[in-house]
């Protein structure tokens, strides 16, 4: 697929490849995304803002230039912004593809890193020589100022121009805890959110510290995604439960939302509100309990993001999705086009049947919903 090499978070011509429960495919303008959403559904997005998580500086023991990319932390609490998991790169910056970057000097516990106004100590070397835990020595307010003023958004070589921080913030961006943009959310704006509500769907958010997507090192990439803290507001958990009770679908905007919701999901598909840390890898053997469809950027096979999609549809459908996207010139990466992938074993239909069985119908009659489900491959695609 073609990398989207321009930092346009909301390109007007962005497209959406729609794969319904049965694996049938259609194409939509991404701006028409809300046409896929039905009354009673809930759309859940990640409202994390992107931290300027790339810090250039010096490894003091060797005097070498390094780039430290913050990649994880234990909680979302602002006062806990002292300890981070980080990936270290050698000299240079995003203009060199990660796989061609020089190695950093070997890190040892106790080593000091000077990152602009920030002073960090290497606390531990983790499961890979370039994966470290760092502790900032500055007061917390000075850490936030240092990140805000000295940090730059993490960026890859396929976008040649330096990203501005606002290129990486979605319209709904709130707490700055994501290490890379939760880019599926670029498709949302306030006009779309308003249109969702007008259709009788709910909109809700959670906050998930989206980690880094690639390090340029296969061994290190295999450790991704790292554990990611998240927070699910009580209001979001309540809206999800209400939507499911009505037979509505839970539509996740982005793989981070899937990861958080499935980590917090109870057996009955409702979610525990509050703070948690998503630790599992979602893949082909994951049984999804909460999410019925995911809207995501396009991802390359072998990445953890792609593996997550395998929980929604089998590999044959995903291969067809790849071919379809390739054939139609879809652009990949965070500023590219998107896919809507419905869960092939979504329980939404079963929930509707159960509701009908209980005789407590939602605002919309189940028979009408069943009609929608049964009219073939176009059921998911573009019914206004």
């Amino acid at each position: 697929m073609i990398p989207a090499g321009t930092a346009t978070p909301r390109p007007r011509d962005a497209r959406l490849l729609v794969i319904d429960e049965r694996g049938a495919m259609t194409h939509l303008a991404r701006a028409d995304f809300q046409m896929l959403v039905r009354e009673g559904d809930i759309v859940v997005a990640n409202d994390a803002a992107t931290l300027p998580a790339s810090l250039a500086g010096v490894h003091m023991r060797t005097g070498s230039s390094v780039e430290v990319r913050l990649a994880g932390r234990d909680s979302l609490l602002p006062r806990d912004a002292t300890r981070f998991t980080a990936v270290v790169f050698g000299a240079g910056d995003f203009r060199t593809p990660t796989e061609h970057r020089p190695h950093p000097p070997r890190m040892h516990p106790g080593d000091e890193l000077r990152l602009g106004p920030l002073r960090a100590i290497v606390v531990a070397v983790l499961a890979h020589p370039r994966l470290i835990e760092v502790r900032f020595e500055n007061p917390v307010a000075a850490i936030w100022e240092g990140l805000a003023r000295h940090g730059r958004p993490i960026q890859y070589a396929y976008v040649p121009e330096p990203l501005a921080i606002w290129d990486t913030w979605t319209r709904i961006a709130g707490l700055p805890v994501a290490f890379e943009a939760p880019s599926a959310g670029f498709m949302l704006d306030w006009t779309v959110i308003s249109a969702l509500r007008a259709r009788g769907a709910a909109f809700a958010t959670l906050t998930h510290a989206a980690g880094i997507s690639s390090t340029g090192d296969a061994e290190l990439d295999r450790l991704l995604p790292l554990d990611e803290p998240y927070d699910i507001p009580a209001s979001t958990a309540a809206l999800i439960e209400a939507s499911r009770d009505r037979g509505g679908r839970v539509i996740a905007v982005g793989t981070t939302v899937v990861r958080a919701l499935e980590h917090a999901a109870r057996a009955d598909g409702t979610v525990r509100p509050g703070a948690g840390t998503a630790t599992e890898r979602i893949g082909p053997r994951t049984r999804l309990r909460c999410v019925d469809a995911v809207v995501s950027g396009t991802h390359e096979p072998g990445t953890s993001h792609y593996d997550l999609l395998r929980a929604f549809q089998d590999d044959e459908v995903l291969r067809r999705m790849e071919r379809e996207a390739d054939a139609h010139g879809y652009r990949t990466h965070e500023f590219g086009d998107s896919v809507w992938l419905a869960h092939s074993r979504s329980s939404a239909l079963i929930r509707v049947l159960m509701i009908r069985g209980r005789g407590c119908e939602g605002r919309r009659t189940p028979s009408r919903r069943l009609l929608d489900r049964s009219d073939g491959a176009s059921a998911n695609a573009g019914r206004p």
Partner: protein, 226 residues
């Protein structure tokens, strides 16, 4: 007035080291709100931080595009979210005040950058947090500090008056648009106050006729915590 709402209410105030902004920082900190304030000069920020250590001081200039996101990041880093944004920082334009015909374009641009574009940008950068506050049922609010010069055409107040008029109207339109999100945007005229900005504009004013910024701050604080 609800004491409940003040506790844990997360408020950011621009122009927080003098005049109305400083009075608001003091008033809201003393009422138990979590306050972050923004001002251009580090000495001023440090002075107010020493006076009210509970408030988070942030150095930044809302008229500069490149400062907006660093300010927003630090506000959210200090407060963990946001319920109230007070866009208070203001520029008079030319000092001393002069008729529009003698106003340099750059002075008008500076007034617009500080009084209109800056509040627009900062509100946008923090809108996701305000919307999250609304979804949590915390009734978020943006207060844009306006002036009677936004409505009445006072001679010599052209740059200031035009920029505040634009801010006033922006507030009204935005308030309409964001009502469905549960975010209120208010434009408030605090009255003629005894502040450094007023002294710059009207050096010979009889200060005894001017409203104390402390009084205006209490009025706005009452509104914010309702």
């Amino acid at each position: 007035m609800s004491g409940e709402r003040q506790k844990g209410l997360r408020v950011a105030i621009t122009g927080g080291t003098s005049g109305l902004g400083l009075a608001l920082v003091r008033e809201l900190v003393d009422r138990g709100a979590l306050v972050a304030f923004i001002a251009r000069h580090r000495e001023g920020v440090e002075r107010v931080s020493r006076e009210r250590p509970a408030a988070a001081g942030i150095v930044g200039d809302v008229s500069r595009k490149d400062d907006i996101h660093p300010i927003a990041i630090q506000v959210l880093g200090a407060l963990g979210g946001l319920d109230v944004l007070v866009n208070n920082a203001s520029s008079l334009g030319p000092v001393p005040l002069v008729p529009l015909a003698d106003t340099d374009c750059e002075d008008l641009e500076r007034a617009l950058a500080t009084n209109l574009i800056g509040p627009f940008r900062l509100t946008k950068a923090l809108l996701g947090s305000l919307a999250a506050s609304a979804r949590d049922g915390r009734r978020p609010l943006v207060v844009n500090v306006s002036s009677d010069a936004a409505v009445t055409p006072y001679a010599q107040w052209g740059a200031y008056g035009a920029s505040k008029a634009a801010l006033h109207h922006l507030s009204r339109i935005w308030s309409e648009e964001l009502a469905a999100e549960g975010i209120r945007i208010l434009s408030i005229d605090p009255g003629d106050m005894d502040t450094p900005l007023h002294a710059l504009a009207v050096p010979g004013a009889d200060r005894s006729t001017l409203k104390s910024p402390d009084v205006a701050a209490r009025e706005i604080a009452d509104l914010v915590v309702q």
